[in-house]
């Protein structure tokens, strides 16, 4: 609503007094130039890791799941830890696009495109793990519930693992559609500046978008419908991932707070990964006018909020374990904190609950260095959280005779590094072929949040009380 008044207390979200043309230039530019040396080096490193990952996956399939260090007691290790970690990271994009849209947070426009792309790549990495951890990957289609001749072999509809399959595939589909829908007008902008084959290609990608009123109208309706579907989906995915654990009777897994606490943790880690990527991207692609300190500060606030929610959940679990009077539950938590994997618990508590509290200070919320360091801490902390829940809990089961210890093999570590390679390779390609900031959406908020306009509001506001009347038809 560019005509409505904007409070002078708000900071501009687009700086540098941009014109519409400059926005197009700045944001299409990276896709039109030859890649920089830094990009090429980063790409080669990513592809190297990706290759390592593929080699390790092939080795797992060739040699069997015995190439991992799982055992009878610890049936899930790095595989499911990485799966949950990646799924969590894949939450920020759709949260930014859908839920922040519902809450009318305009700062989402600076980061939504890249965050959505990141979501899709992270979900791809996540989806890999359930596939390979079954061991016999060539029969992985057994997961899918369709009429078959396999006799009594039929997916168990009562199992949260099957719900997970549906949740993730639905989430992936909607996220992809949402992301692509947003890209259509921007692909058309790139096309209009391109020549030859490139022009044909982007024309195809933009479905022949002409920017007519009818197109915009349909585009807006579609975006709204997808946002409506995506909102419950963001919550459902990690809720169902938490069911994988919480529907069991394993002490430390069976706890009712898991669904909302997993969702909060997912948003937390997703935002941390967005920070990691955006801080590098804005610097390398010179996007400081679009991803401003305001954006970074807002995301840090979300990190502080969700980190503290996760903290409330940690302490609730710990307290209720004592309160329950249930000795196995009490032992599970005692084991987490003081058992053989105490360092994982300590890492989780400090990285997720304690260290993010520095964001209470505005100075640190607006510091690039601190923010970057924090985003790495949170990524590590959230990985530890899943490791604590999975491996630490399993390592000490009911019978001390079956207690065990688990260290991953190079194959397991290699697969994890491989997913990082996949993730960064896809992200780097993305920065070359599509505008990393949504051009159309930035243009949409320019008149209300561009610095040259925002400061105008402030001036008017300061000089007179009659803003209410004056600004009505601004």
């Amino acid at each position: 609503m560019s005509g409505a008044p904007i409070s002078p207390i708000r900071q501009p979200l687009v700086t540098g007094s941009k014109t519409y043309h400059q926005i197009t230039e700045d944001l299409c530019g990276p896709t039109e130039k030859a890649p920089s040396k830094a990009w090429v080096i980063a790409f080669l490193i990513s592809v190297a890791f990706l290759s390592l990952g593929i080699a390790c996956i092939l080795w797992t399939i060739w040699k069997g799941i015995g190439s991992w260090n799982l055992n009878r007691t610890i049936g899930w290790g790095w595989d499911i830890t990485n799966f949950v970690w990646w799924i969590g990271i894949g939450h920020a994009g759709t949260l930014i696009s859908a839920i922040l849209l519902l809450f009318r947070q305009k700062w989402r426009t600076g980061v939504n495109r890249a965050a959505e792309a990141m979501t899709i790549f992270a979900v791809l990495c996540a989806a890999l793990f359930p596939g390979i951890h079954v061991g016999r990957m060539w029969v992985v289609y057994f997961f899918f519930p369709y009429p078959n001749t396999r006799g009594p072999l039929w997916p168990n509809f009562n199992s949260p693992l099957l719900w997970d399959l549906f949740a993730i595939s639905t989430y992936f589909t909607i996220s992809l559609l949402f992301w692509y829908t947003g890209l259509v007008p921007d692909f058309a902008t790139v096309r209009d500046r391109a020549k030859g084959f490139r022009r044909k290609l982007y024309n195809l990608l933009s479905f022949g978008w002409t920017g007519s009123a009818k197109h915009w109208q349909r585009w807006e309706s579609l975006s709204l419908v997808l946002a409506g579907i995506a909102t419950p989906l963001v919550l459902s995915v990690h809720t169902i991932v938490s069911f994988d654990f919480a529907t069991s009777v394993i002490p430390g897994w069976h706890t009712t707070i898991f669904p909302p606490y997993f969702v909060a943790g997912a948003i937390f880690s997703g935002f941390a990964m967005v920070q990691t990527l955006m801080l590098i991207t804005r610097k390398v692609l010179n996007l400081q006018d679009y991803i401003t300190l305001e954006h970074i500060e807002s995301m840090n606030k979300v990190i502080l909020l969700t980190g503290t929610i996760v903290g409330v959940a940690y302490l609730t679990e710990l307290f209720i374990a004592w309160y329950s009077g249930y000795v196995y539950e009490q032992f599970a938590f005692f084991n987490r904190a003081f058992g053989p994997y105490w360092w994982a618990y300590f890492g989780m508590m400090s990285c997720n609950l304690l260290i993010p509290q520095v964001f209470w200070w505005k100075k640190y919320r607006r510091s690039i260095v601190i923010t970057f360091a924090m985003s790495i801490f949170v990524n590590i902390g959230m990985w530890f959280e899943r490791f604590v829940i999975i491996a630490t809990t399993l390592a000490r089961d009911y019978l001390p005779s079956s207690w065990s210890w688990y260290v991953p093999t190079f194959v397991e570590v290699g697969i994890f590094l491989g997913t990082l390679g996949i993730f960064f390779t896809l992200y780097l390609i993305f920065t070359r072929v599509a505008p990393v900031v949504a051009i159309a959406e930035i243009k949409h908020i320019l008149k209300s949040s561009g610095d040259q306009y925002a400061s105008g509001h402030a001036e008017k506001h300061r000089t007179g009380q009659s803003l209410v009347v004056e600004d009505h038809h601004h």
Partner: protein
Amino acid sequence: MNREFVFTGRERTFCFVLMGIGVLSMVLCFFGDDELQTRFWSNFLHNSVFFTGIAFMALFLYSAFITGWSGWHIVFKRVWEGIYLFLPVGLILMLIIAAGLWLDFHHLYEWNDTSALNPDKLHDQIILGKTGFLNKFWFTGGTILFVGIWYFIATRLRGLSVAEDNEERDPNFSKHRKMRIWAAAILPIGGFTSAFLIWQWVMSVDSAWYSTMFAWYAAASWLVSMLCLTAIFTAYLKGRGYLEQVSHEHLHDMGKYIFAFSIFWTYLWFSQFMLIWYANVGEETIYFRERMDSYPILFWANLAVNFALPFLVLMRNSTKRKYGSLLFIASVVFIGHWMDFFLMIKPGVRKTAEHLTHAAGDAHHGAASFMSGFTIPGFIDIGTMLGFLGLFIFVVFSNMSRASLYPANDPYLAESIHHHV
């Protein structure tokens, strides 16, 4: 422009009539009650917790909105200020409950009657194991300290908010910036302390039972009730010619909040219920088993009224933008969440009373028999609720009459006036 709210004689009379009904119901209840005054005191606890929580939630959401740089709600923010200033009254109500722990005039909490607990019985052993937390010192101390802190922060926020009205326009918005600090402070403080108090006040009536979700579940129920009351109060003030800046656009967003948080409440309800049902651990399922067997009307009505109804009715845009439909839903859902707290508190209190009055050892088998005031709310319980509601409205309206309803210098005022969905 009608900006100064006048709390009229008629409105006062209305509140006093409600309070009169409440006192009458409580007197009738007291003299017709069992030897432990179970119904009387469970009603007292239920309503005190319900309205104190609503006041807390107004403070919490108000602070969340300041922290999130929300602009649209400014034209009715004085309603929230009125609601959260009920906190000191809520503190007194809860202190009456706390006093009962020391003076033994009620027997709401099984853990407080330690002499009746038998260390040889497993059930009682578990409760004895919790007495490091479930005791009158923590209950009283936590209530005074935490509700005290809430109220302290509430007065800071209210003071700054009203002071902003009466000054020259400040280009730096220093008052608002100070409000941000208090608002940010209450979020983690409120997040941790509300869980503590919900465990003490509500979850511990079923002393042996536990659920990690419970605090968030109860808090979500408070939140929806608070949103419903906000819509009702705002619409009432509008009808009386106040809050002329509030438009259908604001109503629409209030409707969205009721819609969204009703779904959120259902999400928490489902997560808690489904996980307990699925894992089928006896210590946990007993909570729902009892409610489904002995309190089926409330158990299912809870879902129908608090989920199905707002979900289906508020789905459309038009129902959120009309006073009639929004007020209808707000009123019914408000009562629905009152029933939700009824269902959280009454079964546990009843079992404690039975435990204390019958000889220990005769465990309950099968469904408990129908008992008015427990199985479903009777006239006496509804009357008691009306009494508390009268008190609540009286306090909220008195508070609203102490400052202008129009926050003239709020930095977001213009945005709020021109709010367009």
